[in-house]
């Protein structure tokens, strides 16, 4: 059972249809879903046609695809998803930070792909707001992992003020 959780560890209903990397405009038109998560290549190539369908869109990025090209479209996109082809590919951590800190994106950023328990805490700190957990991850473990640490040193998306400005 796929499990989608938010930063508090609550189960969230996933109403989005995620299309594969090689999806075409036809896939979108033929699907009955109103909420479609499209690969970034499709979005960049077919933006106008996609919007003409009247559906609501999110865009997902593979780890080697930059987020910069959708800068002008952020207001149209309530969901962005960043893929982890393997949990050891850390590029999407920086991308989430860039989206939040530089591009000022305030919608949902979802971690998809190889999303495991032991990475959740860091993902949350980098500005991810939902986690599409791998099947093998137990819900209660994931909920625990989101509370692995009680305090942190760095300035991050979640806590923009570093500890040295907060130290008692």
């Amino acid at each position: 059972m796929p499990k989608l959780i938010d930063t508090l560890g609550n189960l969230v209903d996933n109403a989005w249809l995620q299309l594969p990397k090689d999806a075409t405009l036809d896939h979108v038109v033929q699907s009955s879903s109103k909420l479609v998560l499209v690969p970034c290549k499709l979005w960049l190539a077919e933006k106008a046609s996609l919007l003409a369908t009247g559906k609501t869109f999110g865009v997902w990025f593979d780890s080697d695809e930059p987020v910069g090209p959708i800068n002008a479209d952020l207001a149209l996109l309530p969901l962005l998803a960043l893929n982890f082809p393997t949990f050891m590919d850390g590029r999407s951590y920086s991308k989430a930070c860039v989206l939040r800190q530089q591009m000022k994106y305030e919608g949902e950023i979802r971690a998809i792909g190889d999303v495991l328990r032991d990475q959740l805490f860091y993902l949350k700190r980098c500005g991810f707001s939902s986690f599409d957990l791998k099947d093998s991850v137990k819900l209660e473990d994931a909920q625990k992992a989101l509370k692995d640490f009680t305090t942190n040193y760095q300035a991050t998306v979640e806590e923009p003020v570093p500890l040295y400005r907060r130290r008692a």
Partner: protein, 552 residues
């Protein structure tokens, strides 16, 4: 020394609980090997040839006597009674049992130590000059800056899954004992014309398969911007560093492929978003960290002691030890003492539990309870009174820790090599020992003078062979161990990479090869030239001719 407050302590407790649970899940079969691997690595735990190896951080080389006693206890209780000081100011235990590692971490936490990020593709233990704070030739004490970087890098959520490992060195002394230019980021503390402190920032240095000297990307970074600038460098590297090939994944390859100017521009552009933001360092934070590294209460003394002078005249061995292992101190009447862990027959950098406790006692008695660990795998007592030196020497002598070879041929850097490490192509320790035995004569070594000989058992270069005046690299040729020799490397301010002298040698040839190299040097040197000076003047050819000359 830095002392933990409630925040630092809490983080360490949280980490131990986290790792205890990860270990439990792994042992219970709930966590796959591939998933556990990076987790254990970021806690310093390798699986080695014979057993796991646990690498414990000694942040920027500062160690208290209390901590050293704890390390002795761990060596005795959880290991085989000894441990190995590495070239990155870490200490390695070679025989811990995986189920006991969480307990070891809990013991370490009692003395404010840990194994966080001592391995894995993350920001590693920041290193510095072992004489920081006591050297008479210092621009600025690097330790507060190292602590600030330690905190910034510890559990940095954005940089826990970098393309490859990442090492930062900070140097505030004129001589540079930190090999600063062969780090992913090297930071030289500098003052500008108005006397303000800042950093000259180098990137893309490193050893390993592709050795590179770092290049300057910022001549003067005002100290307030240190962390936002580091964030910018790491963010570029994390996104653009190669992930398709492990051997091309270090930042040095990215800097090379982009060119240093393009890389610098990318960092500058990235930095504009965070410069002057909340990550700007405050005067208060600098003062808070600086306050942990104030001078101890020194006695008012003189730079002269009758008993020391008498012993210098009467005891040649003491004289030798003074000359090699004792350095000037910024405070009148005090000296810096190096304990050279290179006694012939002992593995370089190894210390057993009894020796650790003995050294801890000496630190308490003679050096305000503090020590330093060096990247040359030695220990340092930083604040010893001149008048205490005869007593300290006698004590060290009894435990075979008064080896007077600091900076000489026997003071080799060597990785643990094929005897322990599963990555190694060849053994290192027996080579070191064979060379030490051949030259086990102080007068001879003194005559040769200052020289560095670095040995690595494989091209991962843990023994820093590229930057040894003489470098030795273990290579595998059809299943047999051979050794490639390089000449002319150096890791100081005039950093240089050694040149390969020619075809590699069998293990038993190595002492002869070193002997021949030194014969050329001794025959050709002018005045008081060091080996490296002669080499730089005459080049590699005379050495090649002699080493490979056919016997008549």
């Amino acid at each position: 020394m830095y002392r933990y407050d409630q925040y630092d302590r809490q983080m360490l407790q949280d980490r131990i609980a986290q790792f205890r649970d990860q270990t439990r899940r792994f042992l219970a079969g709930e966590l796959e090997n591939a998933q556990f691997l990076p987790l254990r690595l970021q806690n310093g735990l390798y699986v080695q040839r014979l057993a796991p190896m646990l690498r414990v951080a000694i942040p920027y080389g500062c160690l208290s006597s209390v901590q050293l006693r704890k390390l002795a206890h761990i060596a005795r209780h959880y290991d085989k009674g000894y441990a190995h000081f590495s070239t990155r100011q870490n200490i390695q235990f070679n025989w811990p049992k995986l189920p006991e590692v969480p307990d070891i971490l809990a013991e370490l936490a009692e003395v404010e130590m840990h194994a966080i990020q001592t391995s894995g593709n993350c920001i590693r233990n920041t290193t510095t000059d072992q004489f920081a704070g006591v050297s008479p030739h210092e621009i600025e004490d690097s330790r507060p800056w190292c602590e600030i970087i330690r905190q910034w890098s510890t559990f940095h959520p954005e940089f826990a899954h970098l393309p490859r490992k990442f090492k930062i060195a900070v140097c505030g002394t004129e001589t540079d004992q930190a090999a600063t230019q062969v780090h992913d980021i090297g930071l030289y503390i500098v003052r500008n014309f108005t006397g303000d402190v800042g950093f000259q920032v180098l990137v893309g240095g490193g050893l390993g398969r592709t050795p590179v000297i770092g290049q300057v990307i910022n001549e003067f970074l005002p100290w307030q911007h240190l962390l936002s600038y580091l964030d910018a460098i790491l963010r570029i590297y994390n996104q653009e560093g190669r992930r398709d090939n492990k051997y091309k994944a270090r930042i040095k390859i990215l800097v090379k492929e982009l060119g240093v100017d393009v890389f610098r521009n990318k960092v500058e552009a990235e930095w504009q978003y965070t410069k002057d933001g909340p990550n700007t360092l405050t005067e208060n934070e600098f003062k808070r960290c600086k306050a942990f590294f104030t001078d101890p209460v020194y006695d008012t003394l003189v730079n002269d002691d009758a008993a020391v002078s008498a012993k210098l005249n009467s005891d040649i061995r003491f004289n030798n030890w003074m000359e090699r292992n004792v350095r000037d101190h910024k405070q009148i009447g005090y000296r810096i003492v190096t304990l050279c862990l290179k006694a012939t027959g002992a593995a370089p950098g190894d210390l057993d539990a009894e020796q650790m406790e003995f050294v801890a006692d000496l630190a308490d008695r003679y050096s305000f309870g503090e020590l330093r660990v060096t990247h040359e795998q030695n220990l340092v007592l930083t604040d010893v009174k001149l008048l205490d030196l005869p007593a300290l020497y006698d004590a060290l002598q009894r435990e075979h820790l008064a080896t007077p070879y600091t900076g000489l041929l026997s003071d080799m850097i060597s990785c643990p090599g094929g005897d322990f490490c599963s990555l190694a192509n060849a053994k290192s320790i027996p080579i070191a020992e064979a060379i030490q035995r051949r030259f086990d004569n102080f007068e001879l070594q003194q005559q040769i003078g200052e020289i560095t000989l670095n040995i690595s058992g494989c091209m991962n270069a843990c023994g820093h062979h590229h930057v040894g005046n003489i470098g030795v690299l273990g290579v595998d040729k059809k299943g047999e161990e051979f050794y490639q020799v390089t000449l002319g490397g150096s890791s100081d301010r005039q950093a240089a990479l050694g040149k390969v002298i020619g075809p590699s040698f069998a293990q038993e040839e190595m002492p002869d090869v070193v002997d021949k190299v030194l014969q050329v040097y001794l025959a050709r040197r002018q005045n008081n030239e060091r080996f490296i000076d002669t080499y730089n003047r005459i080049g590699i050819e005379p050495f090649q001719e002699h080493v490979y000359a056919k016997a008549d």
